[in-house]
Amino acid sequence: MSGSTINAKIRTSGHRPWIREHAVSFAFLAPAAIWLLFIVIYPTIDTVRLSLFNESATKFLGLTNYKTVFSTDTILTAFRNNVIWVLIFPFFVTTIGLIFAVLTERIRWATAFKALIVMPIVFSTTASALVWATMLDNSPQIGAVNAAVLTVSDWFNPPGAYPVSATAGQTVANLVGSNAHAEKNSSIVSNSSARAGGMIDIGLEDVSPTTLALLKAQDAVKPQPMSGAITGVVWRAFSPSDPTNKTDILPAELGLPILRLSLVNPQGVSVATTTTTTSGQYKFSNVGTGSYFVELVGSNFSSGFTGISWLGGSSLTPVSGLGQTAQALLSVPLADMAMIITYLWIWAGFAMVLIGAGLASLNREVLEAARIDGAKEWQVFRRVTVPMLAPVLAVVFVTMIINVLKVFDIVLNMASGSSINATPTLAVEIYNDGFTGGVHSGVSSAIAVILFLLVLPAMIMNLKRIKGV
């Protein structure tokens, strides 16, 4: 600071009039100042005025617009969505950023990894939203996520040979032709029972001929009874020559191959399993005493997992038994989650870079001190690293709250069909109310003022932080 006092002396000694030096300084500031004054500061204040007027700004309304804001369903939905975003996104992005930052410390290709993770930040949110809309598409021929989910779920829960699609309005009961009934667990159980040496035949209908052609089904043939065994045939009980006869096996009616069968006792306990042949025949050998039913197990008719409708209108509704409005306000649209996932993809790199820089500037000796003090790696992380990173984590967290309060592009580009009404945020509502079909200032300005108030605490935190520096 001694330099500036020297300078002050030069100025006051009159070699150069000090007013001229200030003039240069002000001239340097002027373009920015004028710009900010006219396009940022004045409009912000004017928005407050407009929020008290009607939509064409001709009539003073007082707080009417604010009342409208808090009594309009779509705007309340927008509030709810902002709350969802603020509650979920900053936490997850900070956590993911922390995990990435810690993991990258231990690998050799950290630079490449970081570049890869940071890359989405430079994409427009519009492009990212459209990419992810495709990634999350319902159709497994378009959406990679659902295709992957399907592949995995088919491993654990493979679709049966005779899938019944609930989404197409089908039920297992539709399949029952003769001598059987559908159970609650989507299985079909014979009406008749048999003892060893007896027979049970089951007729099904509504089975697609294409499926049977694929399975190379042959004409149904009733097998011979065998001592000590229960035998029978499961067939497609439909013949164009006699459409109403479901009980007899008519010529050219096909057997149903590779059906998984289970022999169940009257208590409903399965005692043996088998599979039908290409002509629909089956045989349970060495049957014990007592009578048994035959069950076509539910997995035959499972259509498998059909994928997640990420961007449809479905919601995660946590509580039941509430009023309709409360229910709506407490539910989380699945599309919100899809957008949050997309946003995580975009912003994780930002969190990682900031937290990574924080990690790099930590005094390594403190971590070593903790190790010597007896801490295991996890304890070092939990009790020393994370607390020491707290200021950086807070910066990331607050920055992301501000960011998410203004979330706009992603919603506008990802929401479609039924999710359009479920996912708007305040920023989207400001745009929809203010700029669709001409400019309407009143309610839109009121929401803008509220948005500004929501950002205000973050602004004050920033000011405190920077003033403290």
Partner: protein, 304 residues
């Protein structure tokens, strides 16, 4: 040397492995998987843009990875062959450039001047002005949209020059909302320039202007680069400001092009994916060429 003999001792090596594995092995694996997951969306976009239009929706894009020969530039050719028609891809690319370049240059210039004034000026109230600027950094653009639209119309009424619906109108708005971050960045960077350097130059008789462009500006180049990259990417990727201020203008930037294709025109995805790749390429080039400055900007300005 004795040391090499010692490390090849098998027990020693096992010990080394044990200490490395829990830390490095899983980290590499986990990060490898994460890296792939992170890359998938971008790859999908690229692949879809390179697949024949008719394949979309018939089979997943990942099928094309097994058959790279099926990839073609036909989508690009079709869109480029349209030339610079209003609402076309090339026209949107041009419009994006027309908006982004001036909006970036103006912010960089003004922020440099303002930063200099705030750091090296001697007038009272500099701190108050700076804190105001910091406060303005988080002001949502939404707060200013309607009044600025009206302000533009007012300019039209008064001077016959209404920026609403024009590219300058979009630029003016972008400059205003880029300035707080720009000034913040420049001011913080410049306050790290040793005062002695300026004092020395002043002693030798340099005026304020000379001090600025001979000493401050060259030293502030890294920050200037960070700011330019940030502002460029921010403006290039903006959707809202362009939607609002371009009104019914037939020339729209790439973001609006994509938005329109997706919403109003219900376009085939091949146009969207091809357009998205074109829109992403410019910032990607900027990012990979100036990665260091970009990261520095992220670190310096974690408040926006």
């Amino acid at each position: 040397m004795t040391t090499t003999a010692q490390t090849s001792d098998p027990t020693k090596r096992r010990h080394l492995l044990r200490r490395m594995l829990p830390a490095r092995g899983p980290s590499n694996l986990v990060l490898g998987i994460i890296a792939i997951v992170w890359l998938v969306p971008t790859v999908s976009l690229l692949v879809i843009s390179l697949r024949p239009e008719a394949d979309f929706g018939v089979s997943g894009w990942w099928k094309a990875l097994l058959d790279p020969a099926s990839l073609t530039f036909s989508n690009y050719r079709v869109l480029f062959d349209q030339g610079f028609v209003a609402g076309g891809l090339l026209d949107s690319l041009m419009t994006s450039i027309e908006i982004t370049v001036p909006a970036t240059l103006l912010v960089v210039f003004f922020a440099c001047f303002a930063g200099h004034s705030l750091v090296f000026g001697k007038w009272r109230g500099r701190d108050v002005v700076f804190l105001t600027v910091v406060g303005l950094m988080v002001v949502p653009v939404q707060v200013a949209l309607i009044p600025v639209v009206q302000f533009y119309h007012e300019l039209g009424n008064l001077f016959g020059l209404n920026p609403y619906g024009t590219i300058p109108g979009v630029i003016i708005f972008h400059v205003a909302f880029g300035l707080p971050f720009g000034i913040f960045l420049m001011r913080n960077f410049m306050s790290g320039i040793p005062m002695d350097l300026l004092e020395a130059a002043r002693m030798e008789g340099a005026g304020e202007w000379k001090v600025f462009y001979r000493i401050v500006l060259p030293l502030a180049l890294p920050a200037l680069a960070s700011l330019a990259i940030f502002q460029f990417i921010w403006v290039w990727n903006d959707l809202l400001v362009a939607l609002v201020f371009l009104g019914g203008n037939a020339h729209t930037p790439l973001t609006v092009f994509l938005y329109d294709q997706n919403h109003e025109l219900q376009a085939n995805y091949w146009i969207i994916s091809t357009g998205a790749i074109v829109s992403v390429i410019v910032p990607l080039i900027v990012f990979f060429s100036f990665q260091r400055y970009f990261v520095r900007g992220v670190l310096a300005g974690a408040v926006k």
